[in-house]
Symmetry: C2
Subunit: 351 residues, 2 copies
């Protein structure tokens, strides 16, 4: 396969971890006879510094022209103290999601046997956890009308959803469930919100098209509890943008392997792959960041092209590194820690 991949390294440790994912992907290309052309482009604080905005048109053009986007991380402390500034790295993220039509954020949470003891949860609670959130990413309160009235004394944010938006996300949820444990949980707040009632009735009406999928409906507050109590009771969960923001982050820490969790954001035309961790500014340039989440995001990218074997080969290399203790300091547990670059080299060599 010939693949054009837009490479958005972003801020902080982004460039370092992206480099390792490139290295590992190139090893995959060599082994499986693919040809990858990487197209670097600016994003985040790096883009603000260079051209004054976090998601420049030039970057968008490169993303649109590519077969997929591989993304590092964005965010810089110099923007942290003033969340109301209009030019902020995060604004670029939202613009990018919207313009690329990335309506479904795919966030798996799974465990690595060798890392179970890193979880804040007891082993028997976390063992066997293997769930995937599908978070709606281009609608809801993130993108509804927002502003002030009464000379700034009143603020408002509008949450809006259409049936079509719910349907396209739910289709992905049902289809994903069919390839896994055939369980789908629709997370909403239908006892309070009208948008949630639209979600629930839309999903209910789709149940008959997927008779094999067992569908449940749970309130967002109940899921926030059960994720901590019995995370291994879930398979696929679908939910709206803001609930997804909160719950996927909650889910990411229960495995104890946050530094290893990849994600995908997909739409009809475009797809983006990124680690779920942030830009970790304190670690920038120190060659200590764990590149595995980004490397596993590349695995998701190959799988999204239908290249299952390629994805498997990457996952196997990561598992092998974990078993061999060839890991960065966050996982070293007092043992020997290797650098970001060294772990990347090791993974590429073990493809």
């Amino acid at each position: 396969m010939k693949l054009n991949i837009a490479l958005l390294a972003g801020d902080g440790i982004g460039p370092e971890v992206i480099d390792q994912a490139v290295k590992v992907s190139d090893a995959i290309a060599t082994k499986f006879n693919h040809e990858i052309t990487w197209k670097p482009a600016l994003t985040g604080a790096a883009a603000i510094d260079a051209v004054g905005e976090p998601y420049p048109d030039a970057t968008h053009d490169i993303c649109v022209a590519s077969d997929a986007v591989l993304f590092g991380a964005i965010g810089h402390p110099k923007y942290d103290n003033d969340p109301s500034a209009t030019v902020r790295p995060e604004q670029g993220l939202l613009k990018m999601r919207k313009k690329l039509g990335l309506f479904a954020n795919v966030r798996p949470t799974f465990t690595f046997p060798s890392l179970l003891d890193k979880s804040p949860l007891k082993r028997e609670r976390i063992e066997g956890t293997d769930l995937v959130f599908l978070r709606e990413l281009t609608g809801g309160i993130y993108f509804g009308e927002k502003g002030r009235r009464d000379e700034g004394e009143t603020a408002f944010d509008n949450c809006v959803y259409t049936r079509a938006e719910v349907q396209r996300l739910a289709i992905k949820g049902f289809e994903l469930a069919m390839t896994r444990g055939k369980k789908l949980c629709c997370v909403d707040k239908a006892n309070v919100l009208e948008t949630s009632r639209l979600w629930r009735e839309t999903v209910q009406a789709m149940e008959k098209d997927y008779p094999e999928v067992e569908v449940s409906y749970e309130f967002v507050d109940a899921v926030a509890m059960r994720l901590v109590q019995w995370p291994n009771s879930y398979d696929v969960l679908i939910t709206e943008n803001l609930f997804g923001d909160i719950l996927t982050d909650e889910a990411s820490v229960i495995s104890g392997s946050m530094g290893l969790m990849p994600s995908a954001s997909v739409g009809t035309e475009n797809a983006l792959f990124e680690p779920i961790h942030g830009s970790y500014p304190q670690a920038t340039g120190l060659n200590i960041a764990n590149p595995m989440a980004t490397v596993l995001s590349a695995a998701m990218m190959f799988e999204n092209f239908g290249l299952q074997e390629e994805g498997k080969a990457i996952r196997a290399a990561v598992n092998k590194a974990l078993d061999a203790g060839f890991v960065t300091e966050d996982l070293a547990d007092g043992g020997k820690a290797y650098g970001t670059k060294e772990v990347g080299d090791w993974l590429a060599a073990n493809i």
Copy 2:
């Protein structure tokens, strides 16, 4: 003191656990020379069955005329499958909060040494946890305009906050922090929502009035993570209605003592005290429900009247019962389990 207390037992196990709280409160009244007059009133499914609505005017009148409201639990499975039905127990709850002006929901999460091992979290994560959420309870997306457009194809919910609403909640937060660890965390999503930016700027402007309080600002997704990772790093947290709904429930399970967690909802004129658990319909009438959360809610009620010794006496009795293993089956851990009523009797006898 002469106290008139409205008694809203509600549904499911509500009446059983309320009975025990009455028993214990009466023992307190005897010991400390108070006179409590209980005013029972209908609410929840029980009220729908009797008079067709979940928070009847007659009940409201009794609440308004009382010095406090002691509340059991509401919710009945017959209303669970149709969240869009207009007459639902939960609608009564929201109406009650609004009409009584209960704008601040006080939700402590603390641990009992003897129950630490019940937590899904590892002991070293949960030990020492003692935090309080102040959730805004009468504003935000719960009460904003909501509805449908485009022949039902589009749904919307409006989230609205005024500076005054944020201020009155934040004042309670700062004041509570002053009586505790002097740390206040404002939980918002100021990188996305305009209402959150209003929250943040309002709290920032109040910092100077409480120079001793160390204030931090965290995004709701980050708090959802840190509550699982390091719950003992928090003291007082303030947040808006929907974030509070999700995070307080998440917090409630980390202690492992959900069946013991009390809460208060207070306003300028009225105050209501209730266990955070639900109506637990399967257990109705079986004399197995744990009454301790309701009993501890009565402790919060006394404390809210300034009767600290009375509150302390109740807490001491609960701790004594826990240490003695005089508990209901949820806490019995294979040992002997006592009935709801028996635990209530024991607590009253040990006041």
